[in-house]
């Protein structure tokens, strides 16, 4: 069997790329997609964990992560759309009403 650490390293790389994307990108939609990438990276860890330990619980956990991600995307996109309606912009820099 191939080294399961490879999957974990891949997940770590994808998670880090997603984290950098959230920090670097200004477009709220792209930042949101980067959050989705981070969620996907954790999913690989769960599936790889279930693969390593010979159980199916990791896959069930991945299933629930996917369900939560779908619900989260719906609400998040609705928030982005409503911000766009009032401010005509999806840049995270433009939503600065809470700034002093």
């Amino acid at each position: 069997m191939m080294n399961p650490e490879n999957y974990l390293i891949l997940a770590a790389i994808l998670f880090s790329i997603g984290a950098v994307g959230v920090l670097v990108r200004r477009n709220a939609l792209v930042a949101f997609m980067c959050v989705e990438l981070m969620l996907n990276a954790t999913n690989i860890v769960l599936v790889a964990g279930s693969h390593i330990h010979g159980g199916l619980d990791g896959q069930v956990a991945t299933f629930f992560v996917m369900v939560v991600a779908a619900a989260e995307v719906v609400v998040g996109l609705a928030i982005i759309v409503s911000i766009f309606k009032t401010r005509r912009s999806t840049s995270v820099d433009d939503a600065n009403l809470l700034k002093l």
Partner: protein, 272 residues
Amino acid sequence: MNPAMVPLVTGAEVTFWIAAPIAILGALGLVFARRAVYAALGMAVSMISLAVLYASMDAPFLAMIQVIVYTGAVMMMFLFVLMMVGVDTPDSVVETLKGQRFLAILAGIGAAALLVFAVGGAVVNPPVTTIEANAARGGNVEGLAELLFGRYVFVFELTSALLISGAVGAMLLAHHQRVTPKKRQREMAADRMAAYRTSGEHPGPLPNSGVYAHTNAIGAPALLPDGSVAEKSLSQTLILRGASLDAPALAKVTNETFAAIEAVADDDEDEE
């Protein structure tokens, strides 16, 4: 290692070394593409290669779910919103916080190193795989179903509450209140008649576009009886885009043809 398992395992390894670089390339495309649509494309590539990886890890159900839910539903939703909020605005490259990008990339590399060495180093490598777990319950889908509707049935029921609140929340957030009452057919007819009374504007439908010998395209304006162009026969959008055609030039062919026919008719009359 079980010799019967060797081809499958090497298959998984080959799949990993093909799909993992593609997933990373897609993720890099997501971060570095200036246009949001290209970023979404990179995201889709990454997700599909993750589905391939799931399939190689004996999780066919999750691979299908990944394709259907993520690349199907979630990415479609992202693309819908992307189309709604304007595709053509590239991301600004101006740094609002000084040195933030450099520090972010540094933090990303640090997080990767931490995850790889701290989490990855703690993993032992027992020679079991999901194959036995799948086989013990008669297949991957059956096994997952047994867990979902058995041990995790309460969590599963909770997700339904989550999905309902998600749907209701999205409706609440995306719903917008009307500031003015919606105009119905009766009000619109009254408006038209009021315009006719005050400015003499024709209350009937607008004239349709022109029909010429060579074209009846929507951009060809109709001509009035005196030969001038009927401005109202063209959509305002087409005029603004500069897509309107030159009506007198189109009518020239027709006029020339009529003249030629009349000349022939005159010749015939002369011969008789």
